[in-house]
């Protein structure tokens, strides 16, 4: 049984473990305002918003793609859909703004766009003085494809929501709603766990994994669910990691931060913005708000895709992973985690519990450059991550890692060696490029050819050299990258 609120109404119903939120809405709940565009979390037509009581007492509405979110993850939340915003004939500002700005043409993406605008409007209500700049607009709307309008009227709609009559949805004025949602258990009741298990402690988790060795683990589901929608996988049993207390913790230690594996990208963001701005910038180009609200770095690592965005960056930071298994915990440098294509060091019954994000050292510098066909909401064709320290004119502690250039995300030690202890001059970087060419043999696929990958990967080294050269002359480094990609 899943117990939650839908547009202010209490709902309690059963679903198979591999049912999505979208299937639940359009099927048994007969709420067909929410559309399916792609069933892969890429187009945003199915965007809905959920709020759940956070530890800090907040109750914020976050968007997600209903097509790739497990229905059971609605447990203990308030789900808001496009059907639940208007108050009779009075439209919510997210809606009236779209009408006034001619923001819909065919209208099929519109429910999703309205929901992203709704979440943005909620943010603006909470922090009315926050400037609605391009960065925030792109963050809010980058995951909603529209094939008709070209987005200009949607941008205008977003910018003018504040000028509209602030009609609140009917449920917003129900004073008992938040409390009623809070009173729901965040985990699916044990007696109701018909194949969808929501352990709340690490001990429960490892027990569940031992009892159901065939069960898949699920956190954000943003990749796993593609197996359901695209490859028709059927899961009789799923183990949800999102309520496991130990996997939700962020612990500061002497050499950095242990970040629980079930912590979402959105939740990582403040930490990275403070300590690793280049990494934080990468997150703005990773998936969409809908994805970043759900997906976890733990999932990105465990998935072991050669084109996952965070592993190369974490490799250059000397990140470590803590693995939990039936025999307790063990730690591993991330570098030793990736074995071969989609092969990891995880033993049967083990899962990633936490990731150590090391504290940046003095004089540490970092660049992360992701190349993709489209700037937003695209998967890397290749990604280069670079970290170094410049001491007395020479490069120290050089780390270089690439994604999309081999079967796994890879540190390129030959390139590091070519630069370590060297002045960042043309000669050193020419050697680094040669080392790169000898070390990596990328492949051709839908995202790019081998030649392009090899050329661009080498050019990123040149971009790095130019960045250093400009910095040495105290010149702005913008001219070596486009503003939109600079960090």
């Amino acid at each position: 049984m899943i117990e939650f609120f839908l547009n202010g109404q209490h709902r309690r119903l059963a679903a198979a473990p591999d049912t999505s939120v979208l299937e639940l809405l359009r099927g048994p709940l007969a709420q067909r305002g929410t559309k399916e565009g792609c069933a892969s979390g890429d187009c945003g037509a199915c965007t809905v918003a959920i709020a759940r009581p956070d530890g800090d007492g907040s109750f914020a509405y976050r968007t997600l793609n209903a097509c790739i979110t497990p229905a059971h993850q609605l447990q203990g939340t308030h789900l808001v859909t496009v059907d639940g915003l208007a108050r009779g004939d009075a439209l919510h500002p997210a809606q009236s703004s779209m009408v006034a700005c001619h923001g819909s043409q065919c209208g099929f993406c519109t429910p999703g766009i309205v929901m992203s605008l709704f979440a943005l409007h909620e943010q603006q209500r909470a922090l009315p003085h926050q400037v609605l700049d391009n960065h925030r607009l792109e963050a809010a709307l980058g995951g909603n494809l529209c094939r008709c309008t070209g987005y200009r009227p949607i941008r205008d709609a977003a910018l003018s929501m504040g000028e509209r009559s602030d009609t609140r949805p009917p449920w917003a004025e129900d004073p008992t709603l938040k409390r009623a949602v809070r009173d729901l258990s965040p985990a699916v009741a044990v007696e109701d766990q018909s194949g969808y298990l929501t352990p709340t402690t690490l001990a429960e988790l490892t027990t569940a994994m031992q009892r159901h060795p065939e069960a898949r683990l699920v956190a954000g589901a943003t990749d796993l669910w593609l197996e359901v929608t695209q490859r028709l996988a059927q899961f009789d049993t799923l183990i949800d990691l999102r309520q496991v207390e130990e996997l939700r913790q962020l612990e500061e230690v002497a050499d950095g931060w242990w970040v629980g594996a079930a912590i979402t990208y959105r939740e990582w963001e403040p930490l990275l913005t403070t300590h690793y701005p280049a990494f934080a910038h990468l997150l703005t180009r990773l998936g969409s708000a809908q994805i970043r609200n759900r997906a976890t770095v733990g999932g990105n690592i465990a998935n072991a895709s050669p084109i996952g965005d965070t592993p190369p960056v974490l490799l250059t930071l000397d990140a470590r992973v803590r693995l939990a298994g039936p025999d307790g915990m063990r730690e591993l440098p991330l570098d030793a985690f990736f074995l071969d294509y989609k092969q990891t060091a995880l033993a049967p019954g083990e899962c990633i519990a936490a990731i150590l994000l090391p504290r940046p050292g003095d004089g540490h510098e970092q660049r992360v450059w992701k190349l993709s066909k489209r700037r937003e909401d695209d998967i890397s064709t290749l990604l280069g991550a670079f970290r170094w320290r410049l001491q007395e004119g020479v490069l120290q502690d050089v780390r270089v890692a690439y994604g999309g250039m081999a079967a796994i995300p890879l540190r390129v030690r030959a390139v590091e060696a070519a630069l370590e202890g060297k002045a960042p001059d043309e000669q050193a970087f020419a050697a680094a490029r040669r080392a790169l060419q000898q070390s990596l043999t990328p492949m051709s696929d839908a995202r790019g050819s081998r030649d392009y990958r090899a050329t661009a990967a080498a050019n990123l080294l040149e971009r790095w050299r130019l960045t250093l050269a400009r910095a040495a002359l105290d010149e702005p480094t913008q001219e070596v990258t486009l503003d939109a990609y600079a960090h």
Partner: protein, 827 residues
């Protein structure tokens, strides 16, 4: 219609039983002038608007479904309620590009949970070939498969997931035959889906021989996936006799009606096709929606149950055709100023495995190989190559964009060759007096508009000042290069298949005064229904809200043309206007008699019948008038019809006037390119576009902006990639990247040209707007070439095939850095 009803209740009174005389004669007189309405004679260029513009707010009427869109109440096919025992259909697709089917064993499929029926080609009672214009598209491949994604069989099951899983249980064995994926080789080998066509004007050989300069080059122009957000979907409900009702997301209901009837071997009148709205079409539901309706209809007739069929995105992308990729070549002679004297242009359209609409698509590419420029003495050849991919089909612009690309490439190349700014060369080549006839013999009407648009845009975008600034920037910047380009659009309006240029409408006035209009056009987001309601409201002097459109249905308006070729408002607007005008005349004739008023001074204004020429001396509310007319036994229903005049084209000579008129526009794009990574940004875009006298400026602006961004996507990030076996790798939004929010240029100045009504008698002197703005996106591609050319100090005009992905841009930059010889630059 509460207000109208209230009026009626309040003011209803007995009406005279007098019947206007000779109504039949009046109707006959009307039908003699079909499609010709008062004041519709062609007017000279630059006249004032024939009608004063109505109040601006009403003019920029919001989309008729806007409120339903934003509340989720707008229903699409998969949202329609259906009987509880509705079945779900899914189609089994070929995994092989070319081969002989040696085994199609579906026993395991039949045994899968929930399966109710399984069909193959053997089960089709009627036509097995559902090619829309020419044969070549089997509903199910039988002996031979000709592309990956071709339907082989279909299942109906009790749920959608069951249907999807059942399809996977099929045992299919196909003996591979050599596939052909190269359209150039296909054309050379004579593997064509339709015969080659040529258009020749003057002695092109001699023009080339005597020209002081000659350049030649070739280009590849990529295809494009429609990526309508609502995928292909239909719901078929069997009727009580042999027929079906087909709800389908579909741009061409009449053709689907025909094909479903032929497949089921039943008369057309047994099939009703209905569409309220589509979640996007863009050409992808002109012919590509019918096959699924045929499959679902056959399953519905066999099982006696309603059947839904909705293709999963990856199946949709693989099974349906796309914009044609083209391989183009030019060899052009020009003078020292860069003015084209003549030459030879060859266009090879990659049509896929069957003709579909490719004859007309390649024709339209040929009709637009000149874009806005006189080619002088020229030959244009169009080949239709057959390859083993899905059959490429209609897509906004319908070949026009691909044809234009070759002459826009030539403009840049010629400019670099003669050392002039590309804009200078473009302007010199524009159609003008003395050079105002196309290579297919059509006189270019309103060509001074093109000059005016360009000159205004040049000023409003500060083209020359920015050109100077960009030059200075590029000299100082080693890695980041900026580029600027202004490109024009001249797009021909009319179906090039003459018979399609007709439309019908059906108008009912109910006794409360509310009005229902149906017409042959379909709504796919372009605002057609909004415009049609505006037309009817204007003709009858009513508020927009008094007029409604239910849905497009083949049993209301028959034998319709597809909503395509930008023609929706032009054709159906005229048909609706014709129907409304008939009703108006009937009502005014009746009123003159009934109220004993002077017929000459009667008119319908703001919801009232008004009489008197100067001082109004009599007013009758619309509701009262209608009620009186009903009691007076006046027919309150009328059909309207329209056929575009003047157009003709002779395929034997390659000459004629295929287009009623041309729509014009131009855009200026500025880009920044990172020549180390190939990444780029479109920094600023300025557009000025001609829609004649706009029917609805808000909707037209939406078409211009949306068309531009879609065109930009086609030429930049939208890349179709197949593997060596002909399997499409970019089969969904994870790999196929249409523009997203952040691709909207930070500066985007878009204006509609005002004060220039259509010189032809189109609906209220407006111009079609669906397709023409798509080609404004070409300026982005040209600006990328401009930025790359700066690497050689503008001496080399670099080739840049499309889509110009970061990969292509980087590889072009690398080639230029390695030296012009490696860049494959134009000779």
């Amino acid at each position: 219609m509460r207000t109208l009803t209230e009026k009626r209740i309040r003011k209803a009174r007995a009406a005279s039983d007098a019947v206007p005389e000779a109504l039949d004669e009046a109707d006959r007189a009307e039908s003699a002038g079909i499609g010709r309405l008062e004041g519709d004679e062609p007017v000279a260029r630059d006249t004032v608007s024939p009608r004063p513009r109505r109040d601006a707010v009403r003019h920029a009427q919001a989309h008729e479904s806007a409120t339903k869109h934003v509340t989720g109440r707008a229903r699409y096919i998969d949202d329609l309620p259906a009987p509880h025992d509705t079945l779900h259909a899914m189609v089994g697709l070929s995994e092989v590009a070319h081969g002989r089917v040696t085994r199609l064993d579906l026993d395991a499929v039949r045994a899968m949970p929930g399966v109710v029926d399984v069909i193959t080609a053997q089960h089709i009672p009627g036509h097995r070939d559902i090619g829309p214009v020419f044969p070549g598209d089997p509903m199910f491949a039988d002996a031979e498969v000709s592309y990956v994604g071709q339907p082989l069989f279909a299942v109906a099951a009790t749920s959608y997931p069951e249907a999807r899983r059942a399809v996977k249980a099929a045992v299919v064995e196909i003996e591979p035959l050599p596939p052909r994926f190269d359209p150039v080789a296909a054309a050379e080998a004579g593997e064509l889906v339709r015969p080659t066509h040529r258009q020749v004007s003057g002695d092109w050989r001699r023009a080339l021989e005597s020209a002081p300069h000659v350049l030649e080059a070739e280009q590849f122009v990529g295809g494009q996936e429609h990526f309508y957000l609502e995928g292909q979907a239909c719901l078929v409900v069997p009727g009580e006799d042999e027929g079906v009702i087909v709800h389908t997301s579909n741009q061409h209901p009449s053709e689907t009606q025909k094909l479903v009837a032929e497949v089921l071997d039943i008369p057309f009148h047994a099939v009703t096709v209905e569409n309220r709205r589509m979640g996007g079409g863009f050409g992808g539901k002109e012919t590509q929606a019918a096959p699924w309706a045929c499959v679902a209809a056959l399953l519905a007739r066999r099982t006696g149950r309603a059947v839904r069929l909705r293709l999963p995105r990856a199946d949709d992308t693989r099974a349906t055709g796309k914009r044609h990729p083209f391989h183009n070549r030019y060899r052009l002679g020009f003078d020292a100023d860069g003015v084209i004297l003549g030459g030879d242009i060859t266009l090879i359209g990659d049509c896929g495995h069957s003709p579909d609409l490719s004859e007309a698509v390649v024709d339209r590419a040929m009709f637009h190989a000149d874009n806005a420029y006189s080619l002088g003495a020229a030959r244009v050849t169009g080949h239709r190559a057959r390859t083993h991919t899905a059959s490429n089909t209609a897509f906004r612009g319908f070949g026009g964009p691909q044809g234009m690309m070759i002459v826009e490439r030539a403009m840049d190349d010629i400019a670099r060759h003669v050392g002039q700014d590309p804009l200078t060369v473009r302007k010199r080549n524009l159609y003008r007096s003395g050079r105002d006839t196309t290579h297919y013999g059509q006189h270019v009407d309103q060509h001074p508009l093109m000059v005016e648009i360009i000159e205004r845009l040049e000023r409003s975008s500060d083209y020359w000042q920015r050109r100077g600034e960009i030059g200075a920037f590029n000299r100082a910047s080693a890695v980041i290069k900026r580029g600027l380009a202004l490109t024009p659009v001249k797009f021909g309006i009319s179906f090039t298949a003459k018979h399609l240029n007709q439309a019908g409408a059906l108008l009912h006035v109910y006794t409360d005064g509310s009005v229902m209009i149906n017409h042959g056009g379909t709504e796919m987001g372009q605002g057609l229904h909004t415009k049609i309601c505006q037309v009817v409201a204007r003709e009858l002097g009513l508020d927009f809200d008094a007029v409604r459109i239910s849905a497009t249905r083949t049993d209301k308006v028959p034998n319709t043309s597809p909503t395509a070729a930008s023609s929706g408002a032009d054709l159906n607007g005229m048909a609706a206007r014709d129907a409304a005008a008939r009703i108006r005349r009937r009502l005014l004739d009746f009123a003159a008699e009934h109220y004993r008023l002077d017929r000459e001074g009667l008119r319908l204004v703001d919801g009232e019948l008004v009489s008197g020429v100067g001082d109004v001396h009599h007013r009758v509310p619309w509701g009262d008038l209608v009620q009186a007319a009903y009691l007076g036994r006046i027919s309150l229903s009328a059909t309207g019809f329209y056929a575009t005049p003047l157009i003709h084209y002779d395929r034997d000579t390659g000459q004629g006037r295929p287009f009623y008129y041309f729509a014009y526009g131009a855009s200026v794009s500025e880009v920044s390119v990172d020549t180390l990574s190939g990444e780029y940004r479109v920094e600023r875009v300025d557009i000025l576009h001609d829609v004649g006298d706009s029917l609805n400026p808000a909707i037209d602006l939406g078409q211009v902006e949306g068309g531009f961004i879609q065109g930009m996507g086609w030429l930049t990030s939208e890349e179709l990639k197949w593997n060596d076996d002909g399997r499409l790798l970019t089969d969904g939004p994870a790999t196929y990247k249409i523009p997203t929010f952040g691709d909207l240029p930070p500066i985007f100045n878009v204006e509609l040209l005002e004060g220039h009504p259509n010189s032809q008698a189109s609906i209220y002197r407006s111009k079609a707007v669906g397709e023409p703005p798509f080609m404004l996106g070409i300026s982005v591609w040209s600006a990328l070439r401009d930025a790359l050319s700066s690497l050689t100090d503008y001496r080399v005009s670099p080739p840049l095939d499309t889509p110009a992905t970061p990969e292509r841009v980087l590889m072009a930059a690398e080639a230029l850095r390695a030296g012009p010889a490696n860049a494959g630059a134009s000779r």
